[in-house]
Symmetry: C2
Subunit: 295 residues, 2 copies
């Protein structure tokens, strides 16, 4: 395991060179609430893919401190068992400090791992946040991990992340209510109607390594379907479009801020906005007009 902690997003020239060598890795997104056991599941998947001789990259997007930027200790410790395995490459990304750019940073890391020749890249994110869902929804196959006894949560899952799932895993399935949860999820999927995409529902107990083979199998099946379907092509175009827009947004902001710094400075402008001397809409339009030679 090597750890890449420098700031990759800045290395645009290298990313340009890498780009033609990307597009070969299979990207597997895994999301679920804290406590759903998805890190343990990822750990099992790494081992399974390694046993099959695959090179595995992992991008772990942890909920981390806005101040320390630290990743969750427990996950790091769990990952240590792969520390001496050169076929596993793990990169932790803080969710903070990437304003408007979590998706961009993640896609940069995926591009690097892809060009390095990793066969499978697992992107693990937490929760139901928009950015996290966006990241996972651009994967080839998206796995959503839930636990039995969802209670109120089921409505949120229904409304929020059910549609991005290609595979639903009811983890901790040795707990009471697992079958009920599977039944509830099935019913919710049925309600979507006949035109909806097929979603597989599996049970697993990741800490006991139960259900891992079935999950790997379901991922393979979904992947094979993708290769033969227009859905695979649709997703590739969606990823390219998201990528382009992320970069436009982010590079344009960099230039706009450089423009502000060359003028009155960001601090002074922000001060005027906070004091209601100028509204932020007019300020932003003025900067862009200057930048584009309209002023």
């Amino acid at each position: 395991m090597r750890d890449l902690d420098d700031q990759l997003p800045g290395a645009v020239d290298e990313l340009k060179e890498l780009y033609p060598h990307t597009g070969r890795a299979f990207v597997l997104g895994i999301t679920g609430n804290p406590g759903s056991g998805k890190s343990t599941l990822v750990d099992c998947l790494i081992r399974s893919y390694r046993d099959a001789g695959r090179r595995v990259g992992v991008v772990a997007i942890d909920p981390s401190s806005p101040f320390t930027g630290g990743a969750i200790l427990g996950d790091r410790i769990r990952m240590q068992r792969h520390a001496t395995d050169d076929g596993v490459f793990i990169r932790s990304l803080a969710t903070r400090g990437h304003l408007g750019g979590l998706s961009r940073s993640t896609q940069d890391i995926i591009a690097v791992m892809d060009a390095m020749g990793h066969d499978v890249i697992i992107v693990e994110t937490v929760g139901v946040g928009q950015d996290e869902v966006d990241v996972v929804s651009t994967a080839h196959t998206s796995v959503v991990v839930v636990v039995p006894g969802l209670g109120d949560e089921i409505q949120a899952i229904k409304a929020g992340i059910l549609e991005i799932a290609d595979i639903l895993v009811v983890n901790k399935a040795d707990r009471e209510g697992a079958d009920r949860t599977v039944a509830d999820l099935s019913m919710m999927l049925d309600l979507r109607g006949a035109a909806a995409k097929r979603v597989r529902i599996l049970k697993a107990v990741a800490v006991k390594e139960q259900g891992i083979g079935e999950l790997v199998e379901a991922v393979s099946e979904h992947r094979a379907e993708l290769d033969h379907e227009t859905e695979g092509r649709r997703r590739a175009l969606e990823r390219a479009e998201t990528r382009l827009k992320d970069l436009l947004r982010s590079l344009a902001l960099d230039r706009a801020l450089a423009r502000v710094e060359a003028g009155e400075g960001l601090a002074a402008l922000v001060q005027r906005i906070a004091e209601r001397k100028i509204d932020p809409y007019s300020a932003a339009e003025k900067i862009l007009a200057e930048l584009m030679g309209e002023a």
Copy 2:
């Protein structure tokens, strides 16, 4: 209750006019995982502020379907009791369909409610997602709702959202383990050291309307502190800066996409990126160079 369902973010001219009339409302952010009961808590807070004669705005950022854009039915029903109250203005925002712009849309709605003369604006978001945390962290006072028996969740809370909280509410405090959760949270706060900001921890049972008075009191106390502290000023500047950057990003993207459409068109460009004929970095740089008259 009136419901504003047209697309506000487009109405930039009106927002410019409104801006000088903003900055008077108190913005209260509330976040927590699905099932933490924060909608019920918000419901109690609305009633409490209404009883005190305040006009209340609510921005509910629901996890909703990427396809239907629908909000969660249960919350809508709960809110119905305010349907005939002209002093309550509720706006639901889907978390999807605002790519790069959830924060912008939310701030636009807040600006409108503020200019309309609402005294308190409650922003309710779900979970630990980056955008959601960003939205709440720009509020005057941020409340994080947790439930007893967090288990693994506690690490995520510790790492992810503890720092944005001004007030931690342990809701459903009639459940087993509530005191333990309070103790755990206290310990985690203590570990931050003496320089860290003060965070209040409260217990509540929102469905029984227990602990609501204490929460309103804690919010008032925090608000009074803010008014007298440099922290209040720091947050105002942070909000203005975030607002400006959001608008720059979003307006620049609009212009860049218009430029692309005037040329080969977005679909054709995305196709070339997906086929690896051009890398997205070079594509984005070329568009921006053209836009800025550099090409």
